[in-house]
């Protein structure tokens, strides 16, 4: 399964699932990480973690361990 963690800066893809078995899902989805949304990785922090993702025009930073919870549809759109 493709996850947000695997995207490199500049790449984007559509969200397929949010791993809901852990407490983090609520915060992610309330910020707009919902299935069907396009998400784009903007940059990594200098030490490789966390990363900044763009969703719906807003930029959100999250750790890799959280990016791993966001499953993506295969095949991104270089938008």
């Amino acid at each position: 399964m493709h996850t947000l963690e695997m995207l490199t800066p500049g790449m984007s893809a559509r969200i397929a699932t949010i791993e809901s078995d852990c407490g983090q899902a609520g915060r992610l989805s309330s910020l707009g990480f919902v299935p069907g949304q396009w998400v784009k990785v903007i940059r990594l922090a200098p030490l490789g973690d966390p990363l900044t993702a763009e969703i719906d025009g807003q930029q959100i930073s999250l750790r890799r361990s959280e990016a791993r919870l966001i499953g993506l549809h295969p095949g991104g759109d270089p938008s």
Binding site: T17, A25, R27, S30, G32
Partner: protein, 745 residues
Amino acid sequence: MNPLRTRGPVEAEKHSIQVALVGNPNTGKSTIFNRLTGLRQRIANYPGVTVDRKSGRMKVAECEIEVVDLPGAYSLTAISHDERVVMDVLGGRRNMQRPDLLVFVLDATNLKRNLFLVSQAAELGLPTLIALNQMDAAHHNGIRIDSARLSRRLGVPVIETVGSSGRGLAELKGAIVEALESPCFLPRIAWPACISNGCVMLRDGICTLGCAEISDAEILRVLFDRESVYTEQVQEKTQLRELILEVHKGIRSSGLSPGSAEAVLHYRHIEALLEGVIESSGPIARSRESIDRILLHRVWGTLIFLGVMYAIFQSLYTWSGPAMDLVETGTGWAQSVASGLLAGAPVLQSLVCNGILAGVGGVLVFLPQILLLFFFISLLEDSGYVARAAFLMDKLFSWCGLNGKSFVPLLSGYACAIPGVMAARTIEDPKARLTTILMTPFMSCSARLPVYILLIGTFVEPVYGPYVAGATLFVMHFVGAAVALPLAWVLNRFILRIKPLPFILEMPDYRLPVLRNVVHRMWERGREFVIRAGTVILAISIIVWALLYFPHQESVATQAEAEFVQAQSKQRPAVEIEEALKDPDSAISQSLFNHVGAAYIEQSFLGRFGKTVQPVFDPAGFDWKITVGVLSSFPAREVIIATMGIIYDLGSDVDEGSSDLRTVLKNERWTSGSRLGEPVYTLPVVFAIMVFFALCMQCGATVAIIAKELNWWWATASFVGMTVLAWVAAVAVFQSGRLITTFFS
């Protein structure tokens, strides 16, 4: 339904009309709150949690309205303490008054996400009003919002505002009064059958399981949140879980995922609401992207971050100096005036000078650093840089349970732990905040410096030269941090049973800080410190004064004087001594005065206690004088220099550079025990003392501020923990040092 008219004056006193400000973090909610209430504010804690409950009074057209600024929340899913408080207040849980009106403060530049909370809160059925804030920024970003249409769709008034300039505030006030008179409600989302039926099923099930009252909004939380607090009364947890899983199955069979159904449906609802309301003139080149490219750059971003932090630290360290000196001079002046006025009553004189005034001075002396730090923190937060700094630094701290926002508190701890502990409020995650607060007192604060300078200057520099001395001083500054970070890891891994919050951080647009807000925040924090922590610090100061002063028997002075005269008579003729003692300014009179002072401290409760517990510190190589010095410096570690001065017959007027004190320390020898005749201050002892000071929480003010920021349980735990740790480390240093020196000699 008209709170303004129906309530008589008597009732209004009991239940004042309350308006709650609700919204996401970073929407300018606090600015609006300040604008509405001015300085008529009160800060308290919500029951059971250390979340600020800010309230103030707003006067419109002869009626007083209480405005409550609820903590920022992204959703009603009670993930953080802040969000839990919002849900509790809106639901009227835990004896909290339910607001009469909700004013949502929404960020116009990010309307869609901001409406998520609104859409969730619609379930609560409270009268609502919307303030569409930061309209100027939205306009600047090319976003056009048809607020009239939005208002029609939502069925509630929508007022455009610009918090920073105050635009739209008068309209907002008017709208608040109007909404209280004729309340409007948000339309509830139309849930699909699988969810609405599921809710009914869940409610029936929960009622039979023994949960007395639960609202529609709370049922939804039980259904969608992994762990909900609203079913605490339910005993049969497994039955409840089965019930929830059954409803989830129903949701799944209609093609939705229970984990994301709520968010997906709310966002679908919001998209429909916003259809034709928002117009964005394409992605215009935002200035933030070009600023981010530099500030978050691998090399430049890190360098700029270090530069900013260095500048803050330097100014805390040096700029606060003159103000702190002023406080100290002022205290000294007040002490000498009081001393003159109370010369007839020695106990009162000592209480006022050494207890009360020293305590007041000890509180005020922290103010310059607190004000300065919060000046910088406000600038960093309001400009949007804090999120960037946390992004840059997170990885450095995440391994031990802290996060990127721990950097500022820990760094401030190097100047003073008190503003550092207060600065930890910027950390949302309760676990990381707790850990950061507990680790901040380990940072080598400026009060430790005099002790290091005295000991290194006396025992290291003369023997090993300035380079080794400098290196030792440098290393001493990292002893605390080197112990603290692994300790934080252990705490997080094995001891603290708090669920950490995910580190999910919004990167807000850059904004120009508003001076008004910055000053407001400094004032707020300073006032809070003086009122809440100040009283405790003052109390500690008076208690320790009493322990060092009483019993203060006259016989002690008489005996000390006799001893002194006898010792002196071996060196010079008795007539000469008598003559010199008549003049209170003569050298002999001064040293008699100091000798009596030392005798009083030895005979004081704390002195006797120090002598009794000296065996406890014996394994660290401390004699009773060091022990008393260490004990008397528990309220404030810098006190040790003055106490040492008194104990060694030099009077309290010594500092870390005093050559008399240095000479006395060098010549001090054991007068009893197995080490009789050996010097007290050998290198292992010197290092044991320094390590003890590096790790011990000898600061009543820090204990007080931790008690205030967390609670007394944690304050006590960290005090005891750090003291034990310091003792263990001092013993380890002394014992291994002694082994090494015997091995090499």
